[in-house]
Amino acid sequence: MRNWNIPAVAFALVFALAPAVVAQSPQATADNSNSPPIPRLADGHPNLQGLWHNEVGAAALRQAGLGDIHSPGVPLPLPYLPVLDKIREYRLEHDPYHDPEAHCHVPGVPRIIEQPSSIMPFRIIQDEKYVTILFEYVHDLRIIPQDASPHPKNYWAWDGDSRGRWEGDTFVVDVANFNGRSWLDMDANFVDENEHVVERYTLVDPNTIAYSATIEDPTVFTRPWTMHLTLKKNVSKDRIVYYDCHEGERDVDHYTRSEGNAASKHE
């Protein structure tokens, strides 16, 4: 114990645990008299509207690199099933263009919240039926009904299908129906079509959302794992600057057959 850097450990623990505590007791947080009251819509739910970004911090970006998952609490390396960890290593070393983002595809969940939004913001528009998230990054978007309606059948998408509900003041989003092609980061961490994500958005003060995403994928990971992020209202920029990625791209040679290239050179 005496060899531990106590402040660092304590800091890490607080950083890792605080959002989880927040997520579990949103009412207590909202009632915390030390924080300014959170804005609410006419229906009483917290008002999540505004322009937001993932506040990962420049130091963390430098340390982890732009492409890595840099979220407190994420167990790295991720708990892959046997063999799949080797697949990840191989792709990372020898097949980086397997990354769908290299082909300008929408990133999937939670990558769209975690990665590009540290440098490109997203805007939330909310009414009593939907929370709609419009991302600057590759004009990705998520339309999230608040009625906890069931996921559709026979539907598969890069961003899956999102269904939301309110648990107290926390907006909980269940995401399934993924197409199985997404990577989680540029480090070749990946999921397949059995990915299932539960996101929690808790407005802890007018300018801060405590975000968590629990990822389970029984055919990729040995157990579910959770990332925690702090999303900050963007005060330096007032709106989205539309960003398109793929104009003129001709990257077909980089595609493997699994990405839809029947004549892949990777076979």
């Binding site: 004009h139 998408a157 398109d244 791209e249 699994s258 004549a263």
Partner: protein
């Protein structure tokens, strides 16, 4: 409703404007919902004969009265070239976002989201969206976007959207009707009833057209229970062209055999003389 400003309606609009739409808490008309055009103007805004499963269509151009785009002579020639090369030259074949107004009459639905102070239009096609910020915020200068830069204000119960910063990388239809980066579009959205909306757009582009011209058609609400906008993502295929493939069943294309993938990887590396 205090913020609605009554302005005499412009000439040329039809008379069925007595409908009083439902309103948001701030008094603005409620345009929320999923909408879609039934016109097949996406083939040719000037109208087209019956073809390949699509019925004949009249021009959606209401001004000039002949229903033809008032091209400048060089632009008319360019339109002809576009038509000849349309399959490869149409920007949509690169999965570029459709632009304005083409996105509005595509054969796929779009959804309007609204809350006091916020309005966004989300299109199925290529997951394009437009945020219609209030016209009190000036347009961005010196930058072009596929879907332009939209600013809205209310004239009575009509939503008027001023669209600039449109580039020259979008067309108006599959026939090769086109515009330059000087295109300026003024759109007017008016609810005619609970499930019907009139769309009108005036296009001016002094580099391409001899005078401004106007299109008008109806949009219809999708009342199917559980209707929603589905993801539309393009994927570049083996032929080097982009195809609308999402949503697609992963079981049809993904065949996870990680042991085999590793074995193939090892063989591949061995062939390259790597460990």
């Amino acid at each position: 409703m205090s913020i609605s400003i009554a302005i005499p309606r412009a000439a040329g609009q039809n008379a069925a404007k007595s409908y009083s739409p439902p309103r948001l808490s701030d008094g603005t008309p409620d345009f929320r919902g999923i909408w879609q055009a039934r016109t097949t103007a996406y083939v040719n805004v000037e109208g087209h004969s019956a073809q390949n499963g699509i019925g004949k269509a009249e021009s959606i151009i209401v001004d000039p009265p002949d229903g033809k785009i008032p091209y400048l002579p060089d632009a008319l020639k360019q339109r002809g070239d576009n038509y000849k090369n349309r399959e490869a030259a149409d920007p949509a074949s690169n999965c570029f976002q459709a632009g304005v107004p083409r996105a509005v009459y595509l054969p796929t639905p779009f959804q309007i989201f609204q809350s006091p102070g916020n309005l966004a239009i989300v299109y199925t096609d290529n997951h394009a969206y437009r945020i219609v910020d209030p016209s009190t915020i000036p347009h961005d200068d010196g930058i072009d976007f596929f879907m332009g830069d939209s600013r809205g204000h209310w004239e009575g119960d009509t939503l008027v959207v001023d669209v600039t910063d449109l580039g020259d990388q979008t067309w108006l239809d599959e026939t090769g009707n086109f515009h330059s980066d000087q295109l300026h579009v003024i759109e007017r959205y008016t609810l005619l009833g609970p499930d019907t909306m009139q769309y009108e757009a005036r296009l001016e582009d002094p580099k391409t057209f001899s005078k401004p011209w106007t299109i008008r058609f109806l949009l219809y609400r999708d009342k199917e229970p559980g209707a929603r906008i589905t993801e539309d993502e393009c994927l570049e295929g083996a032929d080097g062209r982009w195809h609308h493939l999402s949503p697609s069943d992963p079981r049809a294309v993904l065949h996870h055999d990680y042991e085999a993938e590793l074995a193939a990887a090892a063989k591949n590396l061995a062939g390259q003389g790597k460990p």
